[in-house]
Symmetry: C2
Subunit: 100 residues, 2 copies
């Protein structure tokens, strides 16, 4: 069952766009780990937040990805850009009106 993670990441003031650049850096690894969608965005009403929507082949694929050394290194590299504020939600996808 595919799995979705919709999240908000607080950025250190003035460093939102660096965090966006970091999160959107091209990665072939994510696809190999089972990531189907990974959209990164901003909302000018919340100028110190980066938003992400991820869809994964399964909750397990998402969980496993977090342990991959390259992903761990990427998280470590992002740390100086993060304020520590996180939000969002996760769910198992059960359907879509766009497909049968």
């Amino acid at each position: 069952m595919t799995f979705a993670n919709a999240g908000t990441l607080g950025a250190v003031p003035g460093r939102r766009d660096e965090l966006v650049a970091h999160l959107t850096k091209r990665s072939n690894l994510l696809e190999k780990l089972g990531c189907l969608t990974y959209e990164v965005g901003i909302n000018d009403d919340e100028p110190e937040t980066v938003f992400v929507v991820e869809i994964w082949e399964s909750a397990e694929a998402h969980r496993s990805s977090l342990a991959a050394p390259e992903v761990q290194a990427s998280i470590a590299a992002a740390r100086p850009l993060l304020s520590g504020a996180f939000g969002g939600f996760r769910f198992e996808i059960v359907g879509s009106p766009l497909r049968d």
Copy 2:
């Protein structure tokens, strides 16, 4: 610029699965209105919530869709299933690590 809406909809106790069925009913209209992705899901940790992630061609396409008569009718039909609790966030998509 594509636009994302990640939302939580509170269901009337015991009616979550009806709300899921309503939201996942096949619609050709949504695509015509500019909806690119519409994933609906659940999380057993929050058994009275339905989760959605939508991606639209633009914020304007999403806004316009809400005024379409068929969408208005669908929202009205869902109303008895909704507790009135809503959450989530919206953002402009600026990139993805899965594409150049």
